[in-house]
Symmetry: C2
């Protein structure tokens, strides 16, 4: 039997889980395969987060600092798990360097992998330098460099953001919606307009999914205060006339072909299951659901239960998720794990 | 100082919070103003829940039974709170009958109020008996009565579900999106088609917001397996020709007026802030956000913190919310409250 808990993954869900467990008086080992904590918001250099507008480095950075300064939490970065044996209450975790720890429970907060836009070649990524991803634009903003065309460093006068790149797209095996891209793109469009007031920003969409309270904070505010333009369209391809990028498609509201020149085209890339999920599923002996996310049972019996007793899951490891909900799930799973180790 | 926690509201969030606290070894008083626990899914008689497909009476009923059978949880139903005094760690709750309890922390899980369709009179509710709400159709199904036209009890041959009734509608002061109605309506459409295979079901929408993993479970499955039809439209009015209900509007994809007869028209009603929120805000001295939901601070510092230390909030009290996320937030807030009472 062990009364400590093993948390895998140092993103928002894992940071919330580790902190919650420590607060409940539990010893925690927090393991991250990358060389530092923070998950996608830190490692991918996000700019201002939805819905608080706080910089990722401050918001998630404060979660990292809190965990790093907690003596109840043993942090190991830059290391992977090799084996996970035993049963609820008495697990043994073996790392790549053959070191081992005991844990009464585990919380998998292994997140997602950003969709790789080269898998959508007809939309120009990898072919034209000024076709970039939302993550790259986040980095342009968070680095302080500003939004610039990679080809020549100029300020773009016209930017197109294409939604659902790697989401809602059966042709490339991504049936799911990535949940956050609409709102993140609205947010990013406002940030671009704030930095470059003369730049026109268009968002090409199928459905605008700024659900719940995001509706007026993002969808309406971006149109009314920031003059972001939304076009419901099916995109055929992104090409170049040698000077400008050309977005070709059909405006599905007026049922007419549209061909519009842009300086920069941004792919709003979706959330794939973590590329390691097959391996994680095998190591932890937890089931995946049909798209490859870590499967969780219904919430009525408790939050974040996987197919293996004593192993919980939280955040985007279960499917596309917002940061707020990842944090709530991480904190909730902390309670599940705490109670289980207590013998509850 | 008190080491017990006060949970207000017996819906999914409150049930999860109370159970989580009890599991952590905490004494809980769970108070519900209605005469029984379960919240909207039980009190409004929901049918099969998204996304598990379990009957509400079983799924949420099991959460009620679990709490009711827990001696650490003191349940009081059919009573309202009159006053809430003191500070974090030492609150005093006074009920309408002047009885009092002490509590170290409180979790507000006061949920939402279903939009009242009479506030959208041009869409025929209250005027024509066969214009009903999603909640009424849920009740037809969960009661075992089946989907029938209220006017004469016949099985409808054609049903229209109108989305965004009381949501995304500035004319009536509801700017927000209610988050769940698209998916709930897809689910309901499939249930109608399952019971009445000859009945045609149309969903009128602005945007289809079956976000995340709901996309293929609801949006695609309802179209492909259940032949539910989706029409992107602006609805002008619902009238009657004396025999059929007539839905008039504009198909926004083909930009043409459409006038279609139906036997039954279903309003997919939104989630208003709880009608008691002004009162709750005053009693608990917690701030509301601009639409009247209970305001919560950012999640980075912990889940569900209101403007008053020691008073937490979870679920649809904070804005439109899914049942799963309400449960996660309730369980997460339980940990926040537990830790606070521990002096953490």
């Amino acid at each position: 039997m062990s009364d400590s808990v093993f948390v895998l993954g140092g993103g928002p869900a894992g940071l919330a889980a580790a902190h919650g467990l420590a607060q409940a008086g539990r010893k925690v080992t927090l393991v991250e395969k990358e060389d530092r904590l923070g998950g996608a918001p830190i490692l991918s250099g996000y700019a201002k987060l939805v819905p608080t507008g706080e910089w990722a480095k401050d918001a998630i950075g404060s979660m990292v600092d809190r965990v790093a300064g907690d003596e109840r939490i043993d942090i190991r970065t830059g290391i992977q798990v090799k084996a996970f044996d035993g049963d609820a209450g008495g697990f043994s975790v073996t790392f790549a360097d053959d070191s081992k720890i005991d844990a009464g429970a585990a919380v998998l907060c292994t997140g997602f992998t950003h969709f790789d836009s080269v898998n959508k070649p007809e939309w120009g990524f990898g072919l034209f330098p000024d076709v970039v991803t939302t993550t790259q634009v986040e980095q342009m903003i968070s680095s302080g460099q500003g939004v610039r065309c990679p080809s020549d460093g100029r300020q773009p006068k016209r930017v197109a953001i294409l939604l659902c790149v790697g989401s809602r797209d059966r042709q490339i095996g991504r049936e799911w919606c990535s949940k956050v891209c609409c709102t993140v793109s609205s947010n990013l469009a406002m940030e671009i307009r704030e930095e470059l007031p003369d730049c026109h920003v268009y968002i090409y969409y199928m459905d605008i999914r700024t659900f719940g309270l995001y509706e007026d904070l993002y969808y309406w505010r971006s149109q009314e205060e920031f003059k972001v333009k939304y076009i419901k369209a099916r995109i055929a391809e992104v090409t170049s006339d040698g000077e400008k990028l050309i977005v070709k498609g059909e405006d599905t509201l007026v049922k007419r072909p549209i061909t519009i020149p842009f300086d920069m085209v941004v792919h709003a890339i979706g959330m794939d299951p973590n590329v390691d999920n097959m391996l994680l599923s095998s190591i932890f002996n937890v089931e995946l659901q049909k798209h490859g996310h870590i499967d969780q049972s219904n919430s009525y019996d408790g939050v974040g239960m996987t197919s293996r007793k004593g192993v919980f899951v939280a955040g985007a490891a279960t499917g596309p998720e917002t940061i707020d909900d990842s944090i709530a799930q991480g904190q909730a799973a902390a309670l599940s794990a705490h109670v289980l180790v207590n013998g509850g």
